[in-house]
């Protein structure tokens, strides 16, 4: 069973300098109870992808074509109210910045109760559920924590509270947008483990976005590699990391220090710059920075299946 299937998704932002093609023909699937990782440099369209799924694109953005089917409904064509009804109970999110993710002037307990606003439970029962969730994310003295305000918790605790809130309605899909990037290394490990435990317990799928290839390798079942608004390679983590079939993935893995040490958590830098998405270059999107460029690369490569389930948008994949 597939929880989320994105097909040929195109997202365009209207800007002063013309249309900015932020996502181009993006396709991938999130199967039931799997953790799918998305990697890519900053600016490659990860947040845009999430916002498109959640129906929260900026006002100047629109889904130009493609479909986002989630539990059988196409989110790309659902009206705002219908998507809003899915957010929370079926589709939930944890964002990067734990410092700013919670409302500073509303107590944690009230925020958690508000998230359950659709439920008919009595107030005390809702609070009991909140306490239960806070215990699961290992917040000490959970009952007392309901009365406290976000600034009274540390960054790691805030992120765990945000995770508790996101999972409270037992969604089918949890989207995590770089949830650990702002945390230090030790906290990152514990938070990842916590996410993994909770995912197993609730039985949801996770779409996990990270810069950190080490974390992706450890946590995710599948990987989607994005570059300048396109999915350049996708497959199971073992397939992609074991046999990188797009030069971009290969370069990322080549110079990823995370493979050797846990110190650097930024993506490795590759010479050259991201192309200007308002004037997409003809042909392969990565050609300008690719050290294995060929003449055929002047045309846009198709998605080529290396082995079943492992796809790369590169002519080189054909010859393998």
């Amino acid at each position: 069973m597939t929880v989320l299937a994105i097909e040929n998704l195109n997202v365009v932002f209207a800007t002063e300098g013309g249309d900015l093609h932020a996502l181009r023909d993006v396709s991938f699937k999130v199967p039931e109870q799997r953790i799918v990782g998305i990697v890519g440099e900053s600016g490659c369209g990860k947040s845009t992808l999430i916002n498109a799924i959640l129906g929260l694109l900026a006002e100047n953005g629109r889904i130009a074509s493609g479909s986002i089917s989630f539990e059988g409904e196409d989110l790309a064509h659902l009206d705002d109210k219908a998507i809003q009804d899915l957010r929370g109970p079926r589709l939930s999110t944890v964002f990067q910045d734990p410092m700013g993710a919670l409302n500073p002037v509303i107590s944690v307990g009230r925020q958690m109760r508000n998230i359950q606003y659709r439920s008919d439970l009595a107030r005390a029962e809702k609070d009991a559920r909140s306490i239960d969730m806070l215990r699961q994310v290992r917040i000490p003295d959970a009952a007392q924590a309901l009365k406290r305000y976000p600034h009274e918790f540390s960054g790691g605790m805030k992120q765990r509270i945000a995770i508790a809130m996101a999972l409270m309605m037992e969604p089918a899909l949890l989207i995590a947008d770089e949830p650990t990037t702002a945390l230090d290394a030790t906290l990152e490990v514990t938070t990842i483990e916590l996410l993994k435990d909770l995912q197993a317990e609730i039985g949801c799928s996770v779409l996990f976005i990270s810069h950190h290839l080490g974390v992706i390798a450890e946590l995710c079942d599948d990987v989607v590699v994005m570059y300048a608004g396109e999915v350049v390679e996708r497959g199971s983590t073992r397939q992609v990391f074991g046999n990188p079939s797009h030069p971009y993935t290969a370069r990322l893995l080549d110079c990823d220090p995370a493979r050797q040490s846990e110190r650097t958590r930024q993506l490795p830098t590759i010479p050259g710059e991201l192309p200007d998405l308002r004037r997409r270059p003809e042909g392969c999107i990565f050609a300008a920075r690719c050290d294995r460029r060929m003449d055929v690369c002047a045309a846009i490569p198709p998605d080529i299946e290396v082995v079943p389930g492992h796809v790369a948008r590169c002519f080189l994949a054909e010859s393998q």
Partner: protein, 314 residues
Amino acid sequence: MLSYSIKRLGLAVVIVSVAMLMLFSMIYLIPGDPAAVALGPRATEAMREALRVKMGLDQPIWVQFWNFFINAWQGDLGNEVLSDRPVATVVLEQLPYTIALILGGISWSVALGIPLGCWAAVKRGSWADRLVGVLSVAVIAVPSFVVAIYALLVFAVTLQWLPAIGAGEPGDLGDQLVHLLLPSLAVGLGWVGYIARMVRASMLEVLEAQHIRTARAFGLPDRMITYRYALTIAILPTVTLLGVGIGQMLSSAVFAEIVFARPGVGKLVYDAILTRNYPLVTGTVLVTTVIFVLLNLVADLIVGALDPRVRSRF
């Protein structure tokens, strides 16, 4: 919250004390002999000397200040010249009218300014937003005495919907409220503009915040996000602004009380200046300073009550 209040109250006491020192220095530095002014040109030197001793003017300056300071904190602001009644009594008689006027002005500005600013922010870029923008600038630009005069002419004289002068029958709350409507509008109208602009700007900022995005991602309804999650934060700077704005409202109150022939501290100080009733002038200034500091304190306590981050900082 309690320790926050106590600290803030301590600060208020310090501010009032400093204000007293400044007021005392001003009286001291103003040229002329207070005793001579009080007694008029026909008094003899002996009479003046006697009054000087009675007023304590023969003492060293720091003793004079100390006496002034202690007496003022005990509510003794001296006696006024014309009727020889205690200044404190005279001012306190008029004070409720002015406080009602200021609170009325705040009510107008909050009741109109916050919804308008919020509406403009939610509909930003629309004609509604632009209309609120233009109206805000317009009401800020018009001086409050002009508002007072036009309000009087239009609603009281031409349309005759509302009474023109006075503060209403004593004891008749409804009548007093009706008499309060126009003068308090004159005091508060400019603030409608300030508050609308302020709320709009801070709403726009808050709506961009990460926690609002999170709230949307949890599927919370738009109404809850706008009013409970965003507006409660967006009004905080407005409350502080209003606290400081009390001073400006007090000066508008002088005009409003004169135009509408209302009793009040503004009218009192105006008359006192015209009759050179100096003890009354200083007493009134001191009392309004205390009122300013107190209302400022109230504004800070409200911010503290609304924002747990402020509370914990103390």
